[in-house]
Amino acid sequence: MIALDQVRRRAEADAKTYGYYLTPQPELLQGFLEGLKTNEDRYGYPLCPCRLASGVYDYDRDIICPCDYRDPDVAQYGACYCRLYVNKEVFESKNLPEVPERRPLEKQQRAYGTQAPAAKQAMPQGGQEKPSETQSPTSQAEKPQSTVKKKLWYCKQCGYVVYREDPPYICPICKAKKEVFAEIESTVEFRG
């Protein structure tokens, strides 16, 4: 169990780091933080309270708060999808904008059983899953298998490297856009 105060402090610290503000309406803020706490207690990670989780880490990692879509959403609309994080203008005006879902439909669908049968069949109800690295589609192991193919990506501007499905929308280090990222092609050679 994580304390609500810890969830609040973490969100405040993150907003400060990135130059954002937390939503200006106290009752909404309280609701967002409680939702995050519930999800962290339930899944083991602070999943976005406004989105449906699959419960499989690899499928959910783009919507772990702060989600992948926060930075481009705040840049475009002044707030994230939930409207937990807002920019200064929205914070001062207290007018929360409508923010459409940026998460691709194919990723949203992973939260529903038929879209992720291999992972879902083995998942105990309410169970907590660890990230899975294996990709074998034929494996019927007890642990759920994610079908996500992760790759190494590097930011051509600052050299930041990530190992994940897609490059981030915005580089967390130098703020370069997604287009600046390139895949690191690696090969393994056997000799002798």
Binding site: L28, G31, F32, E34, G35, L36, T38, N39, P49, C50, R51, L52, A53, C82, E98, E101, L105, Q108, Q109, A111, Y112, G113, T114, Q115, K120, Q125
Partner: protein, 94 residues
């Protein structure tokens, strides 16, 4: 599926809310309906079992809705995505 019914004096429309138990906007939608004495049914999708999630997915997509929450379906034909007071007021003739 664990569908809960909330009674209200105004029941001229069939109102169904697909919600998440953790979602603030879903709670506000439910509260708005209650405050306006509108009868409605809802399901918290995050608490549903996997089979029901599948059914919900199919229903929402067949209605042309987005997989976002809350999704409110009025009279089995009008889909409202998100907590939109203006749209709810118009469709439910509040």
């Amino acid at each position: 599926m664990n569908i809960l019914k909330v009674s209200g004096k105004i029941n001229k429309h069939k109102v169904f809310v697909y919600a998440l138990s953790t979602c603030v906007w879903c709670k506000l939608t439910k509260q708005f309906l209650k405050d306006n004495d509108i009868q409605y049914e809802f399901v918290d999708v995050d608490l549903a079992d996997e089979k029901d999630k599948d059914k919900i997915h199919e229903t929402i997509q067949n209605m042309g809705g987005m997989l976002s929450y809350p999704t409110i379906i009025v009279d089995d034909k009008v889909v409202i995505n998100g907590f939109r007071k203006d749209k709810l007021t118009e469709v439910l003739e509040i």
